[in-house]
């Protein structure tokens, strides 16, 4: 009996090594790896100026687009590495994914409109108009970063990581322990973030200065995927799936500004 099993396993291993036609259909759908251009490739002239302005707004949103921001977050708080990091909703993949249908608005949404949503929900602020310098700069920055990315193909690391369903129901009480051990060091035990001489260094993850209930990360599955791949900084993919689900459930169970669509 045992020998039979061993044989079967060897046979399977052989099949896997051989690969053959079984593997190729899967390979055809394999996501494409894309490298965004380097900073030195930003051209000079008005286009380059707009791209650079976009990067400043992106990394120091409160300073360069303060009137649209209602909390302590910047674009880079979620879109790490200046919008370049895979699985942190990178801009190079975002640009080639729009326009797209979104059930949140029940319409085909353009990238500029999508960015307006970031300001309204994640930044808990007032969306800039589509022809404002803020949106034009951010769209230009995204456009530049996506140069060379294939349209209509799945790119490795696009959007946020989609978590497999949790083995156990996400539990905020277990999540609280994960938070204390792995997150509180930077975001504070009270979740309100950390400052240095009044500058926000670690963004608040709940409370009045964090994202509102309408933001993508207010969904436990989205936050779990973000945490899994990115947190703690430089230690992405060290929390287990269950820990990521639980800590997301804990963070999203905490108070935060209301969804502006539900206030009136």
């Amino acid at each position: 009996m045992k020998k039979g099993l061993l044989f079967l396993t060897l046979a399977q291993a052989g099949l896997l090594l051989w690969g053959g036609p079984l593997v190729s259909p899967a390979r055809a759908q394999e996501p494409v790896t894309f490298q965004p251009p380097r900073d030195s490739e930003i051209p000079s002239g008005p286009f380059g100026d707009l791209v650079r302005k976009g990067e400043l707004i992106f990394t120091q949103t409160g300073k360069y687009a303060g009137k649209y921001v209602g909390n302590d977050l910047t674009c880079e708080s979620c879109h790490l590495d200046r919008g370049r990091k895979p699985y942190a909703a990178p801009l190079w993949a975002a640009y080639v994914s729009y326009p797209r249908f979104r059930s949140k608005n029940n319409k085909v949404t353009r990238l500029g409109e999508r960015i307006q949503g970031c300001f309204r929900f994640s930044m808990n602020g007032t969306p800039p108009s589509l022809d404002s310098e803020t949106i034009r700069s951010l769209v230009a920055y995204s456009f530049w970063m996506s140069r060379g990315a294939p349209v209509g193909k799945k790119l490795a690391g696009q959007g946020m990581y989609h978590m497999p369903p949790p083995a156990r129901k996400p539990d905020p009480f277990r999540g609280k322990k994960v938070y204390a051990a792995r997150c509180a060091l930077c975001h504070g035990a009270d979740g309100l973030g950390t400052t240095s001489d009044h500058d926000v260094v670690f963004p608040p993850v709940w409370g009045p200065r964090s994202y509102n209930m309408g933001a993508g990360l207010a969904k436990i599955s989205k936050l779990a995927g973000f945490v899994k791949m990115n947190m703690p900084l430089s230690k992405g993919d060290t929390l287990s799936d269950q820990e990521s689900w639980d800590v997301a459930a804990y963070v999203d169970s905490q108070p935060r500004p209301a969804d502006p669509r539900k206030i009136h």
Binding site: L192, S196, V201, F202, L233, S234
Partner: protein, 227 residues
């Protein structure tokens, strides 16, 4: 009526205790300064100022760090780490072995309270490396999963109390040696091994570049204040 009486008695009590508490803190500082100046009096004890100077400017020539204005919580944590052996520091281990918990608290409070200008480093900033160092410090080296240093150490590395020390304007010998210690030696007092992972993933040239960059800056008078 009762409330008035209570507040009067509270006032009376605080008048009585407040000076006592102040004296207590002053005692700590005085004791700390004494240890910094001459050691704690136990046989063979060495004064902190031998390497860190009385005002905490450190000694760039031997890579002894500037500690003036670093938070007391951080200094205390590091001395305890050297005692326990979680922080690799072959020279300092012999010096702090005989310090009591109270000695450590005192000397940490003392060095957190002192201020000193930047001391000249062993060489001018290496211009061939400062640019690379600045890029890693301000933007990160994410392809190696290294976030920008300033994301945790604060703008320009001015520190985020209590866990993240200021590194802005620290001397280059110290900075490089710590990165190497985190990477290969036995410095393992960093929370969650964050620095060990980061330092290991950098090349020696990159570690050197980061040290050159932060050493080229002007240090803050004290670590940035927290919330």
């Amino acid at each position: 009526m009762t409330i008035v009486r209570r507040s009067v008695s509270t006032l009376f009590l605080s008048l009585f205790f407040l000076p006592a508490m102040t004296v207590h803190a002053e005692d700590f500082l005085k004791q700390g300064k004494k240890i910094a100046e001459e050691g704690n009096g136990s046989p063979g004890s060495v004064a902190c100022m031998e390497c860190h100077r009385l005002n905490g400017g450190g000694m760039p020539s031997i890579g002894s760090p500037r500690i003036a204005g670093q938070t007391a919580a951080y200094i205390e944590h590091e001395i305890l780490g050297v005692q326990k052996g979680t922080r690799y520091a072959p020279v300092m281990a012999g010096v702090v072995n005989n310090l009591s918990k109270k000695d450590i608290r005192s000397v940490a409070l003392y060095y957190a309270s002192v201020r000193t200008p930047k001391l000249p480093d062993v060489s001018p900033p290496d211009q061939a490396l400062v640019g690379l160092g600045k890029h890693i410090a301000q933007k990160g080296l994410w392809k190696k999963n290294v976030p920008a240093c300033v994301l945790c150490h604060g703008p320009n590395g001015r520190g985020v109390p209590p866990h993240f020390p200021y590194i802005e304007g620290q001397n280059k010998g110290y900075l490089l040696r710590q990165l190497v210690s985190f990477a290969f030696l036995k410095r393992k007092d960093d929370p969650q091994g964050l620095m060990r992972g980061i330092a290991r993933r950098l090349s020696q040239r990159e570690r050197k570049a980061v040290a050159e960059y932060f050493a080229s800056l002007t240090p803050p008078a004290a670590a940035g204040r927290g919330n």
